[in-house]
Amino acid sequence: MKLSTKLISFITGSKLAVVLLFIISLPFLVDGLVSEYTNNSLRRQQDKVIRNVKKNGIQHYLQGDDSYGSYTMLKEEYIALEPAKSDLRIDTIKTEQRVVEQDTLTYRILMHTFVVDQKSYLMEIGKTIASINQYNKPLQRIALYVLMSLIVFTLIIDLIFTRILIQPLGKIISTRLVNRKFPFRDHSPAVATSTQDFKYLDESLVLLMEQINDAFEKEREFTANASHELMTPISILQNKMENMLSDEHLPDHMAMKIVEMMKTLGRLKKISNSLLLISRIENEQFAKSATVNLKILIIEVMEEISHRLTDKNLRIDINIDRDTKLKQVNQDLLFQLFYNLINNAIKYNKENGSISITDEMRGNDYLINLQDTGIGITKEEVPFIFDRFRKTNLREQVGYGLGLAIVKSIATYHHIDIKVVSALQQGTTFTLTFRNVISAHP
């Protein structure tokens, strides 16, 4: 999940939780608030009553009666005074029922004893619960509306701000990481941001890429230098031998020795060239800009190699049904890959053996199978056949173990998957998988 999506969901979620919590607790809050307010107003009324009693005297209210009572027309409020026992001390506010003119109503009642002229009196001030709670619902609704609009407002602000805040990260990802082709030659300007972390991330990425580029350039320089240092002496030796061989007075036995020397030098040349080729592939010095038709390529390889079939009287069957075009590849390298594989299939085959090359589609992947009836590879050796200088099939003293190493590096460079299945004395099958290739029947 993207960071912005995560942040937005978190913000929205947390706000929703706040709203939910508020909706659940709102009735309790309002009730608490109202009862607090009611208690306060009852106390204020109590003070007023006591002030009035002190001003006007208790008899003004009792007028000789046992008690005094006054209530409003709708019986929403009442005030009652009556004499109390002298040792009675009450000062409470509680919810109780009272019967007023045959109506039983629930009141919030303040009861308070006080002393006037050495006599104790009990005062009750009541307010019906219904009248107290009449504003609860609208109050709750208004509170909810205000809260909701606040939440929506802050949510919008948060989303806009998060977006602005995250923007540099998106830019770092899109300019530094997405679709970047190695080596990173294009230098885009630093991403503008005031966030320290993003700045650090961007600078670190640029630095890392520069380091990779440097290492890559150094290796490129090294292969060029190594190539020069290796090839110059080989070149001198080869040309000297060629000139010696052309000497008309050269005795036959010397000529044969020179030919042997040239063969040895040829081997050295081949090995050096192969090693340099592998380093150049790994150093990505080959342009991948060609579009190659695999069927045509394999036919071209066969033209170059078919003379080798006659030696062991081998048969080769090529059944490539599909016209598969590979885009952005290096034709020479792919040629070399198939050449080496087919060459091996010939080299390690048996008399009157055969080689078959077939293709198939598996989902979006295009597969080419190269099957031979050769001497095969043991299970233990299979994992190592692509290693440099690892010679399998020790009985046959041919090859110096670089052919398959080259195959592997070319395959890796082109993201081609290679699988090997082999049975000793029965043959080997190499399966090449080209991912997401569009192929069509001709």
Binding site: A224, T232, S235, D252
Partner: protein
């Protein structure tokens, strides 16, 4: 034909000179860009063989100036660096061919002749060999009026031997010429022998092929 060899590795330059002299080329040597340019300034050459890694700079930098003085010369780049970029840059600057070191001197001469055919428009006479006449440009062999069909590789092999006639060519030299970098290092294998056998068989139908000799333990030679 006059050749300037610009090569800082002196031993190599002498070997090239030695070989080309025997093939009747007149050679001059230069070991630096500076001395190369001096020689190009006074003389006019048919071929300029140019090494890239020279002590006073990249051989490629010599190309534009050299082309000004010697526009008709054929330029062949010789390099041991093996960069693909060098090859492209060299050909872009107007070089006629490119040889990666180590190369065979026979290959060098063969390339020089090919350039001559292409660039100097030299119409070679039909080569005569026994009862056969060979047209290198059209790549055909005739015996009398009859045309003999050789495969592409067979013709390459035959014409290479013919170009270096009276010289023994080893199987390795021959395989490297016709298969290039794909020449395997199993030089003892008989692919060349098989091709020679085919050539002899095809030619023998028309006339004897005594000129095509097998030199035991060394290779093959066309004697003329």
């Amino acid at each position: 034909m006059k050749v300037l060899i610009v090569e800082d590795e002196k031993t190599l330059a002498y070997e090239m000179e030695d070989f080309l002299k025997k093939a009747f080329y007149v050679c001059d040597l230069a070991h630096t860009i500076k001395s190369g340019l001096e020689k190009i300034g006074v003389n006019s050459y048919d071929y300029i063989l140019l090494d890239l890694g020279l002590p006073d700079g990249d051989g490629l930098s010599l190309l534009p100036a050299a082309k000004k003085h010697n526009p008709d010369a054929a330029y062949v780049i010789l390099t041991a660096r093996g960069n693909l970029e060098d090859r492209i840059a060299g050909l872009d600057l107007g070089a006629d061919d490119y040889l990666a070191k180590p190369f065979s001197l026979l290959e060098l001469q063969s390339r020089m002749q090919a350039i001559a055919r292409r660039k100097f428009n030299i119409k070679e006479e039909l080569l005569r060999l026994g009862d056969f006449s060979i047209d290198l440009q059209k790549r055909v062999i005739h015996c009398g009026t009859e045309q003999i069909e050789l495969s592409r590789k067979e013709f390459d092999l035959f014409s290479y031997l013919l170009l270096h006639q009276n010289r023994v060519l080893t199987r390795m030299q021959l395989s490297e010429h016709i298969w290039g970098t794909f020449a395997d290092d199993d030089y003892d294998s008989n692919y060349i022998d098989a091709h020679i056998k085919n050539i002899r068989k095809k030619l023998n139908v028309h006339a004897p092929t005594d000129f095509l000799e097998t030199v035991r333990g060394v290779g093959y030679r066309i004697k003329n």
